[in-house]
């Protein structure tokens, strides 16, 4: 029961910190909105083209926004020594790390879900695929945070880990991008998307169970 208490305390702490430093919430969200609004300007008056590539645009932007937000996951805890205290706790580090990842997703992933339908309409996406878009974002963005956490944990001790981080993490994001983008596109043409959604669910379950361990192990290496 006290493990549960510690888990909740970490989530609560990180949400409180996010409220106190608002830029952490605003940055990825603003980036997501800006990138998507730039596409119609760049492509010009071709609504059909825009409509056709809308799922790709939204998902690639979500991916990049997630990348952008990753560094904040462990950086400040690493710098002020809170990470050492979390790792020295008698509770399993992987569970506490999972709490941090969940809080991070609530702060950076969930806001994307809220603005995505608006931006989809803006790009002319057919209304029947909006539900599927939301579903893929709901299943996919937590995976981005979970997989990204492994990469950040490995690079947080380096002074300039940004480039290595994207090289490490982006290839692992590709499966999510492929299945999510494909599902939204299929839904636009009125085809069934059960298979893609099932695969996304299994990727989410798998990373939920498997990602916290290597993340905790990598953090232990990084504080060394």
């Amino acid at each position: 029961m006290s493990l549960f208490y510690a888990f909740i305390a970490i989530i609560r702490r990180d949400l409180l910190l996010a409220v106190r430093r608002r830029s952490e919430i605003a940055n990825p969200l603003l980036f997501f909105i800006l990138v998507i609004t730039l596409f119609p300007l760049g492509i010009g008056a071709q609504p059909h083209l825009l409509q056709a590539i809308a799922p790709g645009i939204i998902w690639v932007s979500a991916l990049l926004a997630a990348m952008l937000s990753l560094d904040s996951l462990f950086r400040s805890d690493f710098d002020d020594g809170s990470l050492e205290q979390i790792l020295l706790s008698p509770y399993p580090a992987s569970i506490l790390v999972l709490a941090k990842i969940i809080a991070h997703w609530l702060v950076t992933g969930l806001p994307l879900l809220i603005v995505a339908p608006l931006l989809a309409v803006f790009l002319g996406m057919p209304t029947q695929s909006l539900g599927v878009l939301l579903l893929t974002l709901l299943l996919g963005t937590p995976v981005l945070s979970l997989i990204g956490a492994i990469g950040v944990a490995l690079t947080v001790g380096l002074r300039r880990g940004g480039m290595i981080l994207s090289l490490l993490v982006l290839p692992l994001y590709v499966p999510v991008l492929i299945f999510a983008g494909n599902a939204v596109e299929m839904a636009g043409s009125g085809l069934p998307v059960d298979a893609q959604i099932n695969i996304l669910i299994s990727i989410l379950c798998l990373s939920l169970v498997l990602a916290p361990w290597p993340t905790a192990a990598a953090l232990k290496m990084s504080v060394n």
Binding site: R13, L88, Y91, K220
Partner: protein, 207 residues
């Protein structure tokens, strides 16, 4: 609440090699309840490295650390120890109270309540102050308050007197004496001369 009087920390044949430089080799020590171990040595002599090995952040290049006869990773070690390092380990955006509540959630309830601990480290009026408005010495006292609110037998302190004034130093010395009297044990590094007449002090000189 240090109540386990049979606790014992042993280091056997510890070595640490950093960038091909041997910091220490075949270091042995044994620390029992009520004892204090003071690590002395020049800058760069491996004091902090030894503390980080004892915390389990670093693997010793040879030898092992035993807690009550078991390797630290296979024992209750992390239930019984607390570490205050160079970094304070507090979030500057949170208030004093919020920081201590998180620390309490991450450990087990100890001898003192949060209010009592704040009174002891003379921060009682700062409960709701954000940590970034505190001075360096007050932050240090806050991170030491963490030792009082959670259950622990072994304190590992890396330069605990940094940025404390005379009054703060004697305050921490009082707390350390009390901890050792209650059967706790302490390992610390310090450049200050410490005055603990009633405590069984061991010294290791690293060079």
């Amino acid at each position: 609440m240090p109540n386990n009087s049979s606790s014992r920390l042993q280091g056997s044949d510890l070595s640490c090699i950093r960038d091909d430089r041997v910091l220490f080799e075949e270091l042995c020590f044994e620390l029992n309840s009520g004892q204090l171990l003071l690590l002395e040595g020049e800058n760069g002599s491996g004091k902090t490295s030894l503390l980080r090995i004892l915390c389990g952040f670093r693997e010793p290049d040879a030898g092992q650390v035993l807690w009550c006869g078991h390797a630290i990773n296979d024992s209750q070690y992390y239930d019984d120890m607390a570490y205050v390092g160079h970094l304070d380990g507090v979030k500057k955006e949170l208030t004093v109270l919020e920081n201590l509540k998180v620390s309490l959630a991450l450990g087990q309830r100890g001898q003192y309540s949060i209010a009592q601990a704040l009174l002891k480290v003379q921060l009682a009026d700062f409960e709701d102050a954000p940590v970034q408005s505190l001075s360096a010495g007050q932050k240090r006292r806050l991170s030491l308050a963490r030792l009082l609110i959670t259950h622990n037998t072994l304190w590992i302190l890396d330069e605990p007197f940094t940025s404390l004034d005379k009054q703060g130093i004697s305050l921490i010395e009082r707390l350390m004496t009390e901890h050792c009297k209650n059967g706790g044990m302490i390992i610390l590094t310090s450049h200050h001369d410490i005055a603990l007449p009633s405590v069984d002090v061991q010294r290791i000189l690293l060079s």
